[in-house]
Structure formats: structure tokens, C-alpha cells
Symmetry: C2
Subunit: 627 residues, 2 copies
Amino acid sequence: MHVRTEASPHSRWFSLPLGAISVTDGLWRAKQETNRKVSLRHGYRQLERAGNFNNLRLAAEEGEGDYRSPVFMDSDIYKWLEAAALDLATVRDPEVEQMVEAATELIVAAQAEDGYLDSYFQVVGPEARWSDLDHGHELYCAGHFFEAAIAMKRATGDGRLLAVAQRLADYIDSVFGPGKRDGTPGHPEIELALVELYRETGERRYLDLAQYFVDQRGSGRMRGYRHYGAEYHQDHVPVRDAGAVVGHAVRQLYLTAGVTDLYLETGEDALHEAMQRLWHDMTAHKMHITAGLGARFTGESFGDPYELPADRCYCETCAAIANIMWNWRLLLATGEGRYADLLERSLYNGFLSGVSQDGARYFYVNPLQSRGGVERPEWYGCACCPPNVMRTIALVGHYAATVGDGGVQLHQYMASTVDTRSVDGPGAVLSVRTDYPWGGEVAIEVVETGGEPWPLSLRVPQWSPTPVVKVNGVEVTDAVAEDGYLTVRGAWQSGDVVSLSLGLEPRLTAPNPRVDAIRGSVCVERGPLVYAVESIDQQDGVDLLDVSVGLDVRMASTWEGDLLGGVVAVDIPAEVTSQGDWEGNLYLPPEARTGVSGETVLRAVPYYAWANRGAGTMRVWLPSRQK
Amino acid sequence: MHVRTEASPHSRWFSLPLGAISVTDGLWRAKQETNRKVSLRHGYRQLERAGNFNNLRLAAEEGEGDYRSPVFMDSDIYKWLEAAALDLATVRDPEVEQMVEAATELIVAAQAEDGYLDSYFQVVGPEARWSDLDHGHELYCAGHFFEAAIAMKRATGDGRLLAVAQRLADYIDSVFGPGKRDGTPGHPEIELALVELYRETGERRYLDLAQYFVDQRGSGRMRGYRHYGAEYHQDHVPVRDAGAVVGHAVRQLYLTAGVTDLYLETGEDALHEAMQRLWHDMTAHKMHITAGLGARFTGESFGDPYELPADRCYCETCAAIANIMWNWRLLLATGEGRYADLLERSLYNGFLSGVSQDGARYFYVNPLQSRGGVERPEWYGCACCPPNVMRTIALVGHYAATVGDGGVQLHQYMASTVDTRSVDGPGAVLSVRTDYPWGGEVAIEVVETGGEPWPLSLRVPQWSPTPVVKVNGVEVTDAVAEDGYLTVRGAWQSGDVVSLSLGLEPRLTAPNPRVDAIRGSVCVERGPLVYAVESIDQQDGVDLLDVSVGLDVRMASTWEGDLLGGVVAVDIPAEVTSQGDWEGNLYLPPEARTGVSGETVLRAVPYYAWANRGAGTMRVWLPSRQK
């Protein structure tokens, strides 16, 4: 998940090494602490309980035994291990270290003599290796393992898993490629992992193998799980010819992230242009306001353009994570703020809703409306999402800043320390103070700096049209605005403070009139947060089926420190209408009238925090009334 | 499918024997001819090609062989056979007779010594009989076989299959029941079939067995296919306690039809009250305007109340058929026109869309909006719908009339002859002349009648508020209006003509404001028909994503004899708006503006006729503008 692009020839901006950015306070610090103290431990127990670890034990013992399905159980371990490793880069929690050590020893023991590693095939069908690339998930599991091994090396210096990873990668490279076996994985993931393994080790073969797997796509050989077709596996079209995001959303976005990784190394325009077409299709036609992706349960897939239901959308947590990974790579390649904007939208909404406030329950599917009955379970039979959440939270600081163009860029505003000294650049250390996303003030103190002047670029989110930048309290009027960033060039000295003010007034947002499912509705946003109204917060007798909001509504924000771990709630004056003629009727002439109307004030909370207080009703999109 | 309730103690109105009503002209006559000349033959070929017949052959030979899945393949044969038999009641097509004879001989040969009949378990797992009631479909197949056997006996007098059916029923009765084996089928169907077998044979044990299967429900023992839960199988709640339609829509409605059949015989109020609760829940919360049922692909199931998406609804053709069957039984029990109204809505819309104009292609899923790419396939791996369509079309006359309350009731208006002489009642023969649903004039000529005066009841659809009834050209002002019927009592003589005029102006219909997915939209209806706009009929450059209709729109109807087998098309003045600010944007502030607007006239055709001219776009619900 963590990428290092400082040697990538087509990276405009460079990500920072693990540990170079630490989150020091605020929402993300709290999430990281819960992640460490609750989620990582919870995940370890669940991996034991669900049999994931036991599968590896069976592989290590070469014993026959009761393999616990599904086939990709190893990947849950690897994502958990990556999360733990990423977290160790910040805090050396001894219990986490013990768990990591146990998992490491198990993996080392489980690897086969020839380098192969996949407990399902080792235990259940040793003769069946690579016999079912469509559904077997061997290369998918390998990819997640590479990511975990790289994270371990970078976070702790422990190279045991990286050695296992290289043996596995070398073995895979001996099997697949030109003149060897044809094929490409039914679930993309290994592509981005191989590119990062190349970055970590310098072994060009890994990059070439990633390229090979990407180039193999589009044969139409894969028929798809059930009736889902080649699109499900991203085998319907050669990657360079792709024009639309389709099929299984997670597969689609793991692939695009890997392809952009390839582009960062190879600079092949055809790949980048394809990725930009897909990004446009996704953002213009197929994305929920939360940056949730995947309109359909069937095939966990993208729907048609403008098919964006609020209630039965899929919006898998893993798809939101894949979108974060992809946009990060696109940002590194281009320096365009729209990618950081979308990363932020996903991070604070479609992603963060994936985990409960207590850190021990997870959403796989993230609806934008619930008519009741929806809560996060503790774990899943297909448990891809929970450890994916854990590694994303552990790494969240990674997305805060880059260096490049001779300066430093800040992308995601969080209380943090950004230390750029270990990479080429201005040699600066910055201290960022903010209570974003609750407040819109960001103060960046220059703690250390090299001698030369350098530019500091600050992302201005698209929703903040009138940002104000000051240096040491004096407004800057000549900041350069480009591609979503305000850049201030300065001969910085220790103690200088650059401040950014982003307006955080609650605002209404409407959907494109082509979106049928939420026609005539608006939602409330504030800063990067999409808001939701939950039944539990409403006045007695107010049914969320019967509310509507005027387009001229005046909303109020209130900090509620005791609510949901501390959130800014938004109060929205609204109308409540009884059914009237409609009572018991689904369809009537348009002249039918609703009944008496009353007023209420709807209380909204950040979408990510919903479903933490029981299984009530919820809606993001509120029916609107013309003024 | 055909029911005879003249001996049912709780039937207020009595259905007529097979052959007593013949369709003589118009839409349904044309559909029946296509059904005979194309669909029945097509179905027979498909059953051969897909392996259904071969499965029975394997069972007959007691040979091991290659059973072709799914497990319920026999039921497709039985539904096809029932359709053919029902059709033979009207027209003795020699080729159909030959096909029926071949199928009959095969079934007779396939039955096991002890009466058991199910090719899957006979071929694949003889030892596994009844081992998987949840998913095995043995009792489901048996129910469909009983229906076919009864139809054969009633239509042709051939009792061979009925003898097989009784042996099978007796065998099942020897297995299940108090003091015997516990259990109830995972897919309801046998309940209604056992009640009809009781009606046909007088064997009370069959009724008792139906009652037993109904009473066994609600144990929660069935876990559901995949993760769908006990609701999927209708095992989540005892039938008498049910308050809402849930789970797999076809299972739910096959069960309710069977339960209402039971009520017709036993009069148990608790069952009838439960059915009325379910009917209310379905019609007030969970039914599409086409009478399509099942909002979700997942589990082919009902959704939450008001969850009624136009694009990704399921609306299985079989669910529409089940709804027709259920409402027919409710009508017979109660004499309330609302049930005949709903039967009509389903018949002309959600059901009839299930088959192509040429009779050789079928919808399983019936969406109310298509963004392109949707056409009817020729057959399905799970081919429940096509033969279900065939038997419904073959039997459509059945739903036209009943006797009871000393008179005759007309429910569905179609050009037909209604001969009531074989059942207790006024001994009347009526000739109905109409081009309904295209025109609203219905002329009923008394061809023969007994000596006594008797009441003639004419259903007045809920959408026709000002019907006019005349007798021999003179308006009747003292007709009694009750429960959706106008009743005229007369000392009828041969040659008397009663006429009914129903206004058939196109009308707009709006959805309950609680229905999110089609908020701010209207649809066009005319008489019993829901209309749809298809891209193929629109002016060049008009994208159905961009149209809207005023609530004061004046629409025009035109008979188009060459279009889609002859339909009344409706022209709808509408606005076409370009995207403007929205170009490339999914979400913007509500102040965002659409671009230039132009006018067009949308041409709409009956929903049932859509997707017969390629895979264009279609919508039933049109965005509306306030006046």
C-alpha cells in the first residue's frame, strides 16, 4: 500500500518514506489509536477464529487437514500483517510486535521448497497450482503478501518476509511470462505489488512481470464467476483500449492502481490515457457522492452510467480503498489536485464508513440510505474489507504530503509532522496544526528547512472557492493557483507559519439530473464530509421517509464532543409531511395531495459515523423542495 | 393453474370449467395463436435441447447418465405440458397433440414403481430422496406435475397423467404428515396443486396434505440459499402470523395462492386475514406500477417498503404469474374488484412483457427502465418463466368471467364466448365483443339464457371513474355499484346487448412520495396498460436521459396497426434539456443549471411490447416538471 516513487521516472511528485509523516492529533490520530488498540488485536483474533492462521499452519506442516474456505484466506492475513507493520512504523506496540512475529514465523515456515506460497493449494490441491487463474486467487494472495513484506521491511527493517516474497516472486516469474505459461490473474492486485517490489528491490524482472500480467488482459478467456462475464475479471478488453469502468469494482480499481504504477515507471502514454478515460467515466457517471463505487450487488459491480441508487448501492469498502490507492498514484504522476480531492472524498466518506467507532465492526457494503436493520458485523466469511481498513488507517499519514518541483506539497490536512529530509528536496520539516475536518484552519510551521527558497503548495479542495493564505499572519495575494493548489514560494526560516483558511460552511449538493435514483434530492456536505441523517437523532415522530428540505435552507454547525467520538453535527430545518391521499397508495394521479405538514430540525452527522448507535433508519439524500 | 371452485364452500364466485370461455378475437386471441404456433413448439424444442426430456428418459430407463441441471428441470416440462393441455381445450392442433402424447408416454414410463417421480433424484441420487427439502425441489416439481395432469384430464379427458399424479400424491402422502416425516418444501407450489388435485379427485387426503405443508412453515429450519435466510424459503414465520411479503417473490406468491386455495376449502379466517395483510403490504409498499414484484436481484426478493427501483428491479415474470393466480383466488373468495383490477394490471404489464411479440423470446427479469443492452433471450438455464408464460396465455380466458350470487360476473374484458351452462347458475351463454384494451367499449350479447332474471356484474376498473352502462342502447341509471362492479339485474332474453363504456384517455400517474427511486417522475397509463418510451420511436437526437414531461401535458392516442402487432401509441409533448453546467459532473450545488431546452413529442408504446426492436433505451417513469 505504501509507495516510494522518488526513483520513478514519471512521478512528478514523490511520496515520502514510511515514518516520515506522523499523525499527531485529531480525528486520524484517534482512528489510528483505535486501529492499534482495538482493530489490530480484534483482527488477529478473528484470523485465528476463522481459520486463516490454521490454513497456513497446515501448509507449514504439509499435513492434510481441514482447510477453511474461501480460497483467498491468506490474503486477509497479509493485509492484517501489512496493517500491523505500517503501524509499527509509528508506534512499537509490544503486543502488536508479538503478533507480527508469530505471523512472520508462520509464513516463513509455510513457504514451499520451490518458493510457492498459498495455503489453499498447498493443503487442498498441491497438483492444482495455477489450474484456475480465474478464481484461484493465488496471484492475488501473492500480491498482498508482497505488500505486507515490503511494509515490514520499510517499517521495522526486518527483511525475513521480503526474502520470502522475493523467492515467491522469482518462482512466479519462472512460471509466467513470454515463452513460459500464459495467463493473468482473475483478481488484479499483484500488478501494483510487483511494481512496488521492483521499487524496493531494484529487480527489473518484477516490473516486467507486472507489465506482462497487464498486457495479457483482454483475451476474453475468463468467463466470469456465475454469469458475470469477462468484465468481472477485467478480461473483456485490452487495458490500453479500455474506455469505461465496468465489472467488479474492486478488481477494476486494483487494476487501474497497478496500471498507474506501471506508468510511473515506464511512462507509456497509452496506459496513462486509458487510465484518464476510466477516471473520467468513473467520476462523471458511476460514483456515489461518498466516492462509493459499485452500484450493484450483482457481481459487486459498476452499473450503467447514472445508475446510482442510494439504498441498494454496493459501495464496497475495498473499492473505496482501491480508489484511494489509484488516486494517490495519479496524483504522484500528474500533480493535479482533482486526484487528491477524490482521495479525500473517499477517505472521509466511502472508506471511513467501513469501520465502526469502536474499531471492532466493519461494513463490507456501504449504502447511502437505510430503511432500517443495517449494522456492521464483527467479521465476514469473505473478510477482505476489515484488514484492508486497518492498513489504510495505519497508513493515512502517507497521503498528507509529497515533495517535488523543488518544494513540498500538502494534500490531506491533518495534525502531523512531515519530515522530508530523507529524500531529495528542500530538506524541510513541517509541523501541521489543524482540527480539520472539523475546522478549516490549517497552520503549517516550518520547523527545519534547508537554505534555499522553495515552494510550498497547498491543496485547495474544489468545494472551497475562496481560500485565504497567510504567511506569519500576513495575507498572501500573489500565491500561484494551479491545478487545485495554491503555491507560496518563500525563503523559509524555522518558525515561519503558513496558514490556510478553508470555509467550512455546510452546503447543499444536488445530483446530475440524469441520475434517476436520487432525483429531486439534495445532500448536505461540510468540508470533505458528506452528512447523513439518522433516525436516532431526530425529534419524536419524525420519519425519515417523510422529510424534505428547502433549497434556501439555513443550516447550523455545532461541535459535539461527546457524540460519536466528537463530530460537528449539522442542523437542517426541514418539513415533515403526512401521507394524506397517499396513505396506503403507491400510485395515484399527480393531483394527489400529501397531508398536513409540520416543521422539524433534522440533525445530521458525518456519514462515516452512521450505524454506531443501533439499526435505525438513515439517509444521505434528502428530498428537496423548490424555494 | 386452472381452478374449479364450484364445490368450494368459501368461494363466493365460481370459476368456469376449462373450455367454457373461448377467446374469439383481439389481443388475446392473437397472443394465443402465437402461443400455439410458435411458443409451444419452440418450448418443446428447447426442452429437448436443454436436456429436460432426456432427464426423464434417463429416469425411465433407470440408467445412469448425464443428468442436465438444474434440479428442477422436470418442472419446465410440466409447465409446458400444462400449457399445451390448456391450449388443446380450445384448439386440437395435431402437432401439439403429438408432442403432448410423447411427453405423456415419457412421464408414465419415468414414474418409479412406488409412485415417486423426479428425474434428478431418480438419476443422480436415488438414495437421497427427500434429503434436501430446502433446495431439492421434489415437491415443487410434483406440484407442477399435478397441475399439468389435472389440465390434461380437464382439457382432453385423458386420465393417464392424473393416474400418475395420484400415485405420486399418494406416495408423498405416505411419506409426509403427522406421525410421518416432518417437512415442507423449500419452494412452495405443491400446496395449490394439492388443493386442485383434491378438487379434481375428491380425495380429502390431498387437501389435508396441503394444509400440513402450510402448517409446517415458520420453523426457521431452512437457512436459505446462499445467505438469503429463512425468508427466502418462506420459513421465517408461521403463515398465520405473517404480516409482510418478504423473501423470494415467486416463493412468497406461490405460497399465498396455495393458502388462499386452502381458505376457499376450509374457510379458516386466520389464513384469510393473513393473506389480506400480505396483499395490503404488497400493494401499499412493494409493487411496481406494472404489478411487477421483487425489487432485488439478490435473492430474487422483495425489498424494503418503498424500495422500487425502475432500472434494477427484478420483477420476475413468474412472480407476475403467481400474482395473477393469487388474485384470482382472492377474487373468487371475496368478490372484490380490487383483486381483478390487480390481476388485470399484472396480466397486461408485468406478465405480458415476459414474452416477445414473436413468441420465441422471454424475459425473466422485467425492468422498468433500460439504459440499453436489454433483449429477451430465447431460453434460460433456469427456464421457469417461458413455459409459465405459455400456460398463462393458454388459460387467459379463464380470468374473464365467473358465476355466483345467482348471476354472471365479467372481470377481464376480451372478445370471447362465455358459456356458463355446465355449472349451477343462470345457464347463460354470452358473447363479448370488444377491442379492449385498445378501445373502451364492451358489448355483451346474451346468446342464450335460462328463464329467470339474473344479475350481470361488470367490473369497473379503478382507473375508470365514470363508466356508462347501457342495455339495448338505453343508459342504465340504477346499476348497483359495489366493490368495483356495476351490477345490472334483468330478465334477459336472447339478443339483449349490455354495453359498457370505459374512458380510455391516456393519464399520468405519480408515485407515492416515499418512493425514492422514481421521485419527481410520472408514468403514462391508458386503460389497463402502462406505457413505455423506447429510444427507437423518438425524434433524432433525443436521449431518454434528458426528457421531462409537464404535469399539464396533453397527450394523444393513435391506433398503429402495423406497430408491434397493432397497438395504440401515445404521443407525449415533452422537453429535452442539455446538460449545461452538469456536463461531466455528477454532483454540483443546487444552483447549477441545465443547458438549452427544446421540445419534442415522445412516442410511447405499451410496456409489454418493449424490447421487440433491438436493445435501445427505455423508460416507464419520466421526470416531471411542475406546471
